[in-house]
């Protein structure tokens, strides 16, 4: 029993790292643009399909393929922000942008169905099917590599946010949009680039997601976005640290519940969300805390 528990915790932490990567992108977009990007889930799936195409047609290694898919998703993100989010104005801007991103999501879902059909696919590579025995547990290499990559990318995001001029602009915009404009920050450019960065990380997350789960199809975006939304609300909207903590915590909890109740382990996500919000409506690390970082 104890062994299964430890195994579940290890799986949870490794999976949590990958979810953290996707959730950080979502919470970053919220922090800067004040919108909830419902399309984040389908973006992950789009990223996974891009990796799939590259590996099937060009026989490119999954991690090597990221050198193409991450920039590609960055461009997709910037384009979507420029075309559909940026023109929205007025009092209802936030609600409208949420609906716009929902519309983008169902369009991309439909396009993916047209291109790839409803059948489940899975990303394959030598390190997906082989693994290593660690502390007596069998762990496929892809979990370890994926986790390592997630850690590196999240660290890179932190460096970008806290060590560069662009990062200062992003954080200033998160704190106060108007004040950021007044001190000469090009808020529109920052918004577009942040959306791009937030979407670009889904390419990496999507690749690992596509290689570790039981396969994916265009419909998988719904399950993903509801999990990611639960994570960023749990962590506190706009809080990067909160998103990281919530991801690792929830994935661990889910994989522990999974030992006894495989059917309902997903419900743990939402149940935890409801319980936390009844106690702390602002999430674990609320907005104020996140913004004073």
């Amino acid at each position: 029993m104890a062994a299964r528990l430890i195994h579940a915790v290890i799986n949870g932490i490794l999976g949590g790292g990958v979810y953290a990567l996707m959730a950080v992108g979502l919470t970053l977009i919220f922090g800067v643009l004040d919108i909830i990007n419902i399309a984040q889930g389908i973006m992950v799936i789009l990223g996974a399909y891009l990796s799939y195409s590259l590996s099937v047609h060009l026989h490119l290694d999954l991690f090597l393929g990221l050198l193409i898919t991450v920039p590609a998703m960055f461009v997709v993100g910037v384009a979507i922000q420029w075309l559909f989010i940026r023109p929205l104005r007025g009092r209802e801007r936030t609600s409208m942008s949420l609906l716009a991103s929902y519309a983008v999501a169902i369009i991309i879902e439909g396009l993916l169905y047209l291109a790839f059909g409803p059948n489940f696919v899975v990303l394959s590579a030598p390190y997906v099917t082989s693994g290593v025995h660690l502390l007596g547990f069998y762990i496929p290499y892809i979990y370890l590599y994926g986790f390592a990559m997630a850690v590196v990318l999240v660290a890179a995001l932190y460096a970008l946010l806290y060590r560069t001029r662009f990062g200062s602009s992003v954080r200033a915009t998160m704190q106060d949009r108007t004040a950021a404009m007044l001190v000469g920050i090009d808020v529109r450019r920052v918004s577009a680039l942040t959306y791009g960065v937030g979407v670009a990380v889904t390419a990496a997350g999507g690749m690992v997601f596509g290689a570790t789960g039981g396969g994916f199809n265009p419909n998988s975006g719904y399950d993903l976005i509801s999990r990611l939304l639960a994570l960023i609300i749990l962590g506190g909207l706009g809080s990067i640290g909160g998103a990281l903590a919530a991801s690792v915590l929830m994935l661990t909890l889910e994989s522990i519940v999974d030992i006894w109740q495989p059917t309902w382990s997903v419900a743990v996500f939402y149940a935890a969300l409801v319980i936390v919000l009844m106690v702390r409506p602002a999430g674990l690390l609320g907005r104020a805390a996140a913004r004073s970082q």
Binding site: V104, I107, L114, S226, L229, T263, L277
Partner: protein, 341 residues
């Protein structure tokens, strides 16, 4: 009918006066009443019933989300629960034929019983988070429909078989859904003009100020949420009886949430006529597309594209935009007349 935000009925003939409006309303009602007697085509009948179900659902959605400004993307919870509860009751109590309609109150009660705890949890947070909570709760319900033992799992539920001819089915369902849609519209109109409706719109405009002025915000929001849920639950039950089957993914359909929101946005969020106009445009178009284009993915892409177009080009919706255009034209005409004197 569009409220004080738009121009009042004018005297210069471009907007109808009170008597003309009443006449117009009577004509529309009469046309609606004889519609199924004239158009007996099977496809048209089905589209008519489906459209009326969506009119009721969109008006119900607007009563809560349009008036209060809290967007719900979880109303399929009530739609699906309404369908499932009558389906489960009919199966377990062995109810057959037209007796199934006696179960409708159950759908209404279920809508209310779900809306109270749902609302109490979700309405603790402000707008952004509220949307997300509604999505999360929606997925919990879909998951339950798939996995609980009494829901029939992935095969769903079948409605009792009605011993009516196809034409009778279409006509009778038409009048039942019409009654529900009219009740919803009447309620929406009453609420918009009432003190309760004003409180809701005050919350939409500035919740903190409304609360400080003595509006009991949570109670007001919850009441609207429950009213909205009851109508949506009834719409779900009628829909289930009509199409005779419910599956977890059709009863609890994320596209449903988006569609009712789109209808209200297209017509004009927070107006009485807006969601009706939106539903009358979108529901037949969607049904027609599904019957013509066998590829459901294509119609999904078109729905998304239409949504983007509405949000980007007509952010305030058809009804307020057209009303404003008419008012402007009327003002200009009046100005010209002044200048001629």
């Amino acid at each position: 009918m569009t409220g004080p935000a738009t121009a009042p009925a004018g005297r210069h003939g471009l907007l109808p006066g009170r008597a003309a409006r009443a006449g117009l309303l009577a004509v529309v009602l009469a046309a609606t009443a004889v519609f199924p007697l004239i158009f007996t085509n099977q496809l048209v009948g089905t589209i008519g019933v489906d459209t009326l179900i969506f009119v009721a659902a969109a008006v119900a959605w607007n009563i809560f989300s349009g008036y209060s400004g809290y967007l719900s993307l979880g109303h399929a919870v009530f739609f699906g629960s309404g369908a499932y509860v009558v389906g489960i009751a009919a199966r377990d109590w062995q109810i057959t034929g037209a007796a199934e309609f006696a179960l409708l109150p159950l759908a209404a009660v279920t809508g209310a019983l779900i809306a109270v705890p749902f609302g109490l949890v979700a309405l603790r947070v402000r707008r952004h988070t509220f949307v997300v909570i509604t999505i999360a709760i929606f997925f919990i319900f879909q998951l339950m429909a798939f996995n609980l033992s009494f829901t029939g799992g992935t095969t769903g539920l079948d409605a009792p078989f009605l011993l009516w001819s196809p034409l009778m089915i279409n006509q009778r369902f038409y009048y039942m859904t019409l009654a529900l849609a009219l009740a919803a519209i009447g309620l929406s109109w009453l609420i918009r003009g009432s003190r309760f409706g004003l409180q809701l719109r005050a919350i939409r405009d500035d919740e903190d100020r409304a609360a400080s002025l003595g509006v009991r915000a949570t109670a007001v929001k919850l009441t609207a949420f429950v009213i909205s849920a009851v109508i949506t639950g009834l719409a779900g039950a009628l829909w289930f009886f009509f199409i005779e089957q419910v599956l977890p993914q059709s009863g609890f359909d994320p596209i449903f949430d988006l569609t009712v929101a789109l209808m209200a946005f297209l017509g004009g969020l927070g107006t009485v006529t807006g969601p009706i106009v939106g539903a009358l445009v979108i529901a037949p178009a969607q049904q027609y597309l599904t019957s013509q284009v066998q590829n459901s993915y294509l119609s999904q892409i078109l729905l998304g594209a239409l949504f983007l177009a509405v949000v980007l080009l007509l952010p305030r919706g058809l009804v307020p935009t057209v009303a404003e255009k008419l008012a402007l034209r009327r003002a200009r005409l009046a100005g010209d007349r002044e200048a001629e004197r």
